[in-house]
Subunit: 251 residues, 2 copies
DNA sequence: TGTATCGTTTCATAAAATGGAATTTCAGTG
DNA sequence: CACTGAAATTCCATTTTATGAAACGATACA
C-alpha cells in the first residue's frame, strides 16, 4: 500500500510529475519510486505522459474515485447537508464536481415543489453554461483552465448563454471577486442557479474541489431572491469542506 | 496493491460489507481478506462500522478521490478531442506516435458506421505505408530518418505501396510542403487516411511528436472529400498540442 | 447447550520489497 | 559531434512481507 503516497502526490499535483521530482518530494530513494510507479502503472492507477518521462493519474483511479464519492457511507453526511439546505431554502440543491469540461452531479436533493427540474446524479452538463461549472473555471489554475477548455465546442443553449471567449473571461473574473456564480438561464430557459465553492485546504494551499448549487425556476425565485440564500449556502459549503478535511493521520 | 480490489468492491457497494461477504464476492480466501482489510484500515482507506463487524470507505479515500477528480489527466482530454473529431467528420480517428520505424496507435475512437476498420490501441503499422508514418518521416531530422529507415524491409502491401527509395523521398518532400499526409490505399486496399502533425513547441524549437489521422473506406470517402476535413483535423491537432504543452511543463 | 457461521490467529513456505551501487539514456552545451 | 550532467533504469544480496490451509475463538440464534 505504500505506493499510494505516490498516487496521492500525483493527484494533488496540478501537472504530471517525473520520477526524480517525486523522489525528492517524498524523500524516498529513486529505485523505490521507480518500482512504486511500476506497481501503480501495472495496476492501471497511473499512466505515463506522451513523452514517457512523466506520470499522471489514470482511468482506473478516476473510476475508483467516482465510486468512492458516490458511496453512501461516506456520502451520507454530505447527503444530509444537502437535505438541510433544501429544508432551509426550499429549492433543489446539487453537489457537483468538475470532470474535464463538464460538471457532474455527485448527489442532489430535490425540492418538494411540483414544478421542478429533474436531473439524475451522475448526469453531466457543460461547464461554460452552468453556475457551478463557471465557478470551477473561475477558481482553477489558468493553465488547467486552458487545458480543460481546449477543443470544446461552445453551443448557444439559450439566449443568455455566454459564447464569446472574452465575455466568458469577464464573467469568470466577476465570479472570482464575488465568491459565487450565477446561472442566468444560460443552460435552460427559465432555470436559474446559484453556486458556491467547496474548498479542500491542504496546508497552505486551497483548492475548489466541489460546488454546492441551488436551482429554481426563475418564476418562483428571482436572481435577487436567490442571492438572499447565499449565507445559508456558504455555511453548508463550509460543512462540506469539513467532510473532506485533511485530519492529521499518524502512521 | 492487491488489497485495492477490496476498496473498489467496498466503494461500489452501497452498504458496508463484512469479511465473509467480501471473501465470497471476490473469491479470495478468508485470511487473505482479513489481512487485506487490516492493511487498508491501517492505511486509513477503510474503517470499521460502529459494530466493528463491517467495513466502509474512510476519509483518506474520500480525500484522495476528490484530488483525483479535480485533476483530469491530459490523456483523457486527448480522448475527448478524438471523440469530437469523430463527431465532426463521421470517420474513425487515431492518435499515433512514431516508434522506431513503426507507427503505434496511442488512442483511437471509431466511427459508428457498420463498415469500419478495427484496430486496437497499441497495435503497430510500418511507417512507410501509413499516412501518419510518412508524416513523421517527412518532418523528422534527416539523420534520424536514415537511422529509422536503415535495415527495415519494405513490403509491397498493396498495388499502391511506395517501395522505391526515391519515390518515397519525393512523397516526403510533398508532405513537407503540404503540411499533411495521405495514405492512398498503401497499406490496405480500399482504406484511405489523412494525417496532420501534432507539434510540441519547446522554446523556439518545434517537433512533431504525434499525429492525428482519420481513416475511411475509399468507397465512403474519396481522397478529395477527405481533404475537405483538413481544417477540422488541423484545429483538433492544435488542441492536442495544448495538452502536450501541459504535459511537458514541470515546476 | 448445541451448532452453525463468522472472524481471527498460527505458521512454514513463497514471494516481494528494499536501496546502494552500477549502468544506461537523453537533452542540452561547447 | 563528442562532452556532460541529470534523470531514469537495472542489478542484486538482504530484509521484509504475503500467502492460505488448518486450527482456534467469538458470536448469534434456537
Amino acid at each position: 500500500m505504500k505506493p499510494l503516497v505516490l498516487l496521492e502526490r500525483l493527484a494533488e499535483a496540478q501537472h504530471p510529475m517525473g520520477l526524480a521530482e517525486l523522489a525528492t518530494a517524498l524523500e524516498v530513494p529513486k529505485p523505490t519510486v521507480h518500482r512504486w510507479l511500476g506497481v501503480l502503472e501495472e495496476a492501471g492507477l497511473v499512466q505515463r505522459t506522451l513523452d514517457g518521462r512523466r506520470y499522471e493519474v489514470a482511468t482506473r483511479a478516476s473510476r475508483l474515485a467516482f465510486s468512492i464519492l458516490s458511496n453512501k457511507p461516506s456520502g451520507a453526511i454530505r447527503h444530509e447537508i444537502l437535505r438541510q439546505v433544501v429544508r432551509d431554502v426550499g429549492e433543489t440543491c446539487n453537489l457537483t464536481i468538475l470532470d474535464g469540461a463538464e460538471v457532474r452531479y455527485l448527489d442532489r436533493v430535490e425540492s418538494q415543489w411540483p414544478l421542478r427540474i429533474t436531473f439524475q446524479p451522475g448526469s453531466r452538463v457543460p461547464a461554460y453554461c452552468s453556475a457551478s461549472g463557471k465557478l470551477f473555471l473561475a477558481l482553477m489554475q489558468p493553465a488547467k483552465r486552458d487545458l480543460a477548455l481546449c477543443g470544446i465546442k461552445v453551443e448557444k443553449k439559450t439566449d443568455s448563454t455566454i459564447v464569446g471567449k472574452s465575455a466568458l473571461m469577464n464573467e469568470l473574473a466577476d465570479i472570482r471577486s464575488n465568491g459565487y456564480a450565477l446561472d442566468r438561464e444560460e443552460y435552460l430557459p427559465g432555470l436559474v442557479c446559484l453556486a458556491v465553492p467547496v474548498f479542500r485546504t491542504n496546508g497552505r494551499s486551497r483548492a475548489c474541489v466541489a460546488a454546492l448549487a441551488i436551482q429554481a425556476p426563475v418564476a418562483r425565485l428571482s436572481l435577487e431572491d436567490m442571492l438572499t440564500k447565499l449565507p445559508i449556502l456558504k455555511e453548508a459549503a463550509d460543512s462540506m469542506s469539513e467532510t473532506i478535511r485533511h485530519d492529521s493521520e499518524a502512521n
